[in-house]
């Protein structure tokens, strides 16, 4: 059984300084939990985008919750550059560990399999390798004369975040074909999940839904959050609010603009009370 709680209590379970895994913006991001983390005032997070991020990372960066960002890219997609990320890298306040999509997937799969590293083809000659002193290029360790190959160390997040369309009373969550969320949940020490709707019955026993179900043994905390991915979309349930995201992209171009957005959309009454 995984205890059910509320989103604010989930946010309390994330310690300052944690290594947290963020799904990409198209893949069931628990934005209400991200906002709750900001309200809780979490600090010094090291965030891994799996393998890219947008709104989720940008809000955490703008609100001063992130110390280090590791990603293949941070972008608001069609809404353009991620403003807080761009500003943070350019003014040096954010440490960016540049990576590439398959390296992040592979590093999480290494943790999923409990091995300290995994090999990855390609990449050699990219300047990414030059700046990643945790990566290692070696001569074919099988001794088959296959030339040099990159080894990337396992990434084991302390906490992974997911927003699921369905959850059940046993603590299982359903994420459909978003299989990267399985990988994140397996790789992370624990996963905190919000969900849209409660499913009656056991998702792991359902002959069809079980294929998209992450079992309770990976889930450390669960809270309902209706429309919990907004303004991002939840495929099959609701689309992204592109107007909101575009307006954010514009407003957050300055820190003052970001702060106004944060006060209005995230801190809400709390900011009023504190001011």
């Amino acid at each position: 059984m995984t205890d059910q709680t509320d989103v604010a209590a989930l946010a309390e379970q994330v310690p300052d300084g944690a290594l947290v895994a963020l799904p990409p913006d198209y893949s069931f991001v628990p934005m209400e939990l991200i906002r709750a983390l900001i309200r809780r005032g979490v600090k010094d997070l090291h965030a891994i985008a799996v393998p890219v991020s947008g709104m989720a990372a940008d809000l955490l960066i703008g609100a001063g919750c992130l110390r280090v960002m590791e990603a293949a890219a941070v972008s608001l997609g069609e809404a353009g550059l991620a403003p807080s990320f761009t500003r943070g890298v350019q003014d040096g306040s954010l440490t960016m560990k540049d990576s590439t999509c398959p390296a992040i997937h592979t590093a999480l799969q290494a943790s999923e399999k409990g091995v300290p590293f995994m090999p990855l083809g390609g990449i050699i000659g990219s300047d990414i390798v030059k700046y990643r002193n945790d990566w290692k290029v070696v001569d074919d360790p099988m001794g088959e004369g296959n030339g040099r190959i990159l080894l990337v160390p396992a990434i084991r997040p302390d906490v992974a975040f997911v927003h699921a369309p369905l959850a059940d009373r046993h603590g299982n969550i359903w994420v459909g074909k978003r299989h990267e969320l399985f990988t994140i949940a397996h790789a992370a020490k624990t996963t905190l999940a919000t969900y849209e709707e409660l499913h009656d019955g056991d998702l792991t026993e359902d002959p069809v839904l079980s294929a998209g179900t992450i079992p309770a043994m990976y889930i450390g905390g669960l809270a309902r959050a209706v429309e919990g991915a907004k303004p991002l979309g939840l495929a099959g349930s609701y689309g992204a609010d592109m107007e909101h995201i575009r307006a954010y992209a514009k407003e957050a171009r300055t820190q003052e603009g970001f702060d106004a957005y944060l006060k209005r959309e995230v801190l809400g009454g709390q900011a009023e009370a504190a001011s």
Binding site: V52, V89, T100, G122, I124, S126, I128, E180
Partner: protein, 248 residues
């Protein structure tokens, strides 16, 4: 000669570069390559398979974000598209930013999967409409993905062609150099040279890039608008005149 927009022209140029069968994949935010791939799928009766990674329609992948990369590593992806903030004469791509890394003057999103797809996909088509010396530089500030590799690094994939608003170039991997293949109607070799910061090969006679046929434009407008609207509704409406019904 048919009347067409510049986007329709570029879709036509890319379509002409695509193989008759296999798997073509298109990354995020790429409506022009996406339209070209869907058009070629239509023209080949489905023999060329199309995967649009962004969005849920025309996206056959069911095993999460790694499946595209895994499939490329398996040798199943025949065509992919890459661009860059900067591209240099050795086909090195920079998607990270300009200035000195890590304290960049201008930061862009990041390298995405470029240094992997560039090594694993045999036909990478570089698509960068803006043809200026700001983009096409002598040497990129940051190599997200290298154009060529030494022999002790296994590499099947790499750059095949470059499509811009001015011209079509091919890339010779052995020489590590671009070659001008054709110049788009209304433009000249001099214009290409003036706006390119790197040296490239120019044949004695440079043809003009073929224009889209009326038939191709007909298929594009009648069938591809609806298809691409599932991924890029605004593009489908603006460029191809297709207005999708409102839906999530």
């Amino acid at each position: 000669m048919a009347d067409y927009s510049s986007d329709e022209f570029l879709i036509s140029v890319i379509t002409g570069l695509l193989p008759e069968k296999g798997n073509a994949a298109v990354g995020a935010a790429s409506p022009v390559p996406g339209s070209a791939v869907l058009l070629k799928r239509e023209l080949t009766g489905g023999a060329l398979r199309a995967s649009l990674i962004q969005g849920t329609s025309n996206n056959p992948f069911t095993d999460g974000g790694r499946e595209l990369f895994d499939a490329a590593g398996q040798g199943r992806i025949d065509v992919f598209f890459l661009g860059g903030v900067q591209i240099d004469g050795q086909a090195n791509l920079n998607l990270v930013g300009t200035g000195e890394y890590p304290a960049l003057e201008r930061r862009f999103p990041g390298s995405f999967g470029s240094p992997y797809m560039y090594f694993t996909v045999p036909n990478v088509i570089l698509f960068r409409p803006e043809h200026t010396r700001r983009v096409f530089v002598e040497k990129v500030d940051f190599i997200s993905a290298p154009g060529v590799s030494p022999p002790d690094v296994q590499r099947i994939g790499g750059p095949k062609a470059l499509v811009t608003e001015l011209c079509l170039m091919s890339f010779d991997r052995d020489k590590g150099r671009f070659r001008l293949e054709s110049v788009h109607p209304g433009h000249s070799v001099e214009e290409v040279r003036d706006n390119t910061g790197f040296d490239f090969d120019v044949p004695d006679k440079v043809p003009t890039t073929a224009e889209p046929s009326g038939e191709m434009l007909g298929v594009l407008r009648s069938k591809i608008g609806r298809e691409i609207a599932g991924t890029y509704p605004e593009f489908a409406e603006r460029v191809l005149g297709y207005r999708a019904e409102l839906s999530a």
